[in-house]
Amino acid sequence: MIEAILVEGLIYGIMVMGVFITFRVLDFPDLTVDGSFPLGAALMVQGILLGMNGWLALALAFVGGVIAGVITALIHNRLKVPNLLAGILTMTMLYSINIRILGNRANVPVLDQETLLSDVSARLSGIIPEEYVLLIFFVVVALVIKLLIDLFFRTDLGMTIGALGNNEQMIVSQGINPQTLKTIGLGLSNGLVAVSGAFAAQYLGFADVGLGQGIIISGLASVMIGEFLIMKSNRISILTLCALAGSVLFHAVMYLGRYYGYVIKMTPNDLNLIKGLLIIVLLIMTRFKKLNMAALKAMVQK
C-alpha cells in the first residue's frame, strides 16, 4: 500500500512540478495540462507499440508536451486571448489529437508490451527486492527531474522567468519580451506534465484519452497541500520538494478514498467531488493561516 502511494505520488509529482511552474512561478493558470497529460501517455504508448526505444518514446512525449504548451502560449500572446481560455482551447483540441495518436481509439493497452518500466524491473529485480524496484526507480527519476528544475531556475534565464510571475513590468523594463519567457515556461511545464503522463501510462498499463480529466485539479491540490504543510520559502529547491511531497500526500488521501471509501458508502465516482472540496478546504485554511500570521504580527508590533 505504502509503495503504491509513493510510486503514484512520485509519478504524478512530475506533473505537479509542472503545474507548480505555471501556477506559482509564472502566475499563469494553465489548463493545457488536462490535454498534455494524456498526450504524453498516448505518445509513449504508440512509441512502444511501434517498437521505439523506451527512452526515445519518453523524449517524444516530452517534446509533444512542450509543443502543446507553446501552442497555448502562442494563442495567449499573439491573439491576446486570456490565459484560462487559451489553455482550454488547446486542451479541447488535444482531445481529438490524442484519439488520433491512439489510432482512433479511446484506450490502448500496453500490458503485454515491453515498456521502460518492465525493462527496469527486469534489470534490477536481482539486485533489489521486487516490490521496491519501481519505488526506487521513481524516487531517482523524480529527484533527478526536481534537481534539473532547481538548476534551471538558478540560471539567469530561470531567474528572469521567476521575476516575470512576480513583476511583469520589471521584465519589460529590462528589455526582455515577457511573451518569450511565458512561452518557455509553458513549454517546460507541459513537457514535464507529458513525461508524467508517459510514466503513468506505463504504470497503469494503458493510455486512455480520459486520463487527463481533472489532472489540473489534482495538480493544484497537490501544490497547495505541499505549500500548506511545509514552511513558506522562496528557495526553488524547497518549493519543488513541497510539490513532490504534496503530490505524495494527495495520492495518499485519494488512495484511502478509493480503497476504504466504501466504509462511508463512497464510490470512486465521488473522488472528483472530494478533490474539489479538498481544494476549498485548503483555501479556507490558508486564509486562516494568513489571518493568524497578520494578527500575530500586529501583536508583536504593539
Binding site: F152, T155, Q174, I176
Partner: protein, 264 residues
C-alpha cells in the same frame, strides 16, 4: 537623442469620452539634458513618458531615437536604451526574490540564457556598488526584497538602472510614494548619479522648488501641451513665484487656485 515630432495621443478616439491626452507635442531631448517636468494632474506628463517608453503609441506624429524612427518599436525593445522608474517603488524589483538575484536580473539588459552568472566575483561587484547607497544594503544580499522599505527598493531600482547605462532615464514622480526622509535621500542619490554618470534624464515632479533646483531644463505642461520650455541661464533665474506668474500669463483659465493646480 530623443525627438518627438508632432505627436498626439487620443484616448477613446471616436467616442463621447474622447480625451486628447497629448496635442501635437514636439520635443527634442538633447544629449546630457536633465529635464524636470511640472504640470497639474491630467496635464499629460505621464502620457508623455508612456509615449517615449512605448507603452502607448501616438495617433499622429513620430518619435525618433538618435535619428532612428522608433514610433512602432515595442516597449521592451526601447527598454534596452531607456530606463524608467515609476512612482510605485514595487514596480522596479521582484518582491519574493533575494537582493542579489534582483541585481543579477537587472544589471544587464536583454534576454538571458541558460548560464549561471551569479558568482562570487559578481557578488563582490554588487556589494561594492550597493555601498554607494549608504543604506547598509550590502550586508543584506541574501534577503528577500519584501523585507525592504519602499525607499530602499526605489534607491536600489535607481542604482540598477544607472548600472545598465541607458541613453535616457525617465523618473515618473519616483519619490512621491516615499516618506519625506526617504524621498530626500532618493532624490539626492538621483542627482548624484545623473551628474556623475552624465545621464540624459527627464523627471516628473509635483514639487515646483525641486523642478527649479534640479536639472538644466524645465517643461511646464497643461492640457496635453508643453506650454513652457526653459533652459540654461533663464531656468536658473526661475523662482516658484515667477513660475506661477508665467502660468497665469500663458493660460487665462480663470482657475481660482493655480497654486493648487501646480501643487507642491
Amino acid at each position: 537623442m530623443i525627438e518627438i515630432i508632432n505627436a498626439s495621443v487620443i484616448f477613446n478616439q471616436g467616442t463621447v469620452n474622447e480625451n486628447r491626452a497629448l496635442q501635437n507635442i514636439s520635443l527634442n531631448v538633447r544629449e546630457g539634458d536633465f529635464i524636470t517636468i511640472i504640470g497639474s494632474n491630467g496635464a499629460g506628463k505621464s502620457t508623455l513618458f508612456n509615449l517615449i517608453a512605448g507603452t502607448i503609441s501616438p495617433a499622429t506624429g513620430s518619435i525618433h531615437a538618435n535619428g532612428r524612427d522608433i514610433t512602432r518599436e515595442p516597449e521592451y525593445k526601447r527598454a534596452q536604451y531607456i530606463g524608467r522608474i515609476f512612482q510605485n517603488p514595487l514596480l522596479g524589483t521582484a518582491s519574493n526574490m533575494s537582493l542579489e538575484d534582483n541585481m543579477m536580473i537587472t544589471y544587464r539588459k536583454g534576454f538571458k540564457w541558460l548560464k549561471r552568472s551569479l558568482n562570487n566575483r559578481m557578488r563582490e561587484f554588487f556589494r561594492s556598488e550597493l555601498v554607494q547607497l549608504k543604506m547598509g544594503l550590502e550586508q543584506r544580499m541574501k534577503e528577500n526584497l519584501v523585507m525592504f522599505s519602499g525607499g530602499q527598493r526605489q534607491a536600489l531600482t535607481l542604482l540598477m538602472m544607472v548600472l545598465s547605462k541607458p541613453s535616457l532615464i525617465m523618473l515618473d514622480e519616483h519619490t512621491a510614494a516615499l516618506d519625506p526622509k526617504n524621498a530626500e535621500i532618493v532624490l539626492e542619490l538621483t542627482d548624484t548619479f545623473i551628474t556623475e554618470y552624465k545621464l540624459t534624464s527627464m523627471m516628473i515632479t509635483h514639487n515646483m522648488s525641486h523642478a527649479i533646483e534640479f536639472g538644466n531644463r524645465l517643461l511646464m505642461m497643461d492640457r496635453g501641451e508643453i506650454i513652457f520650455d526653459v533652459s540654461g541661464a533663464a531656468k536658473k533665474e526661475l523662482t516658484v513665484e515667477k513660475l506661477i506668474e508665467k502660468f497665469h500669463e500663458l493660460r487665462h483659465h480663470g482657475i481660482e487656485n493655480d497654486r493648487a493646480l501646480l501643487s507642491d
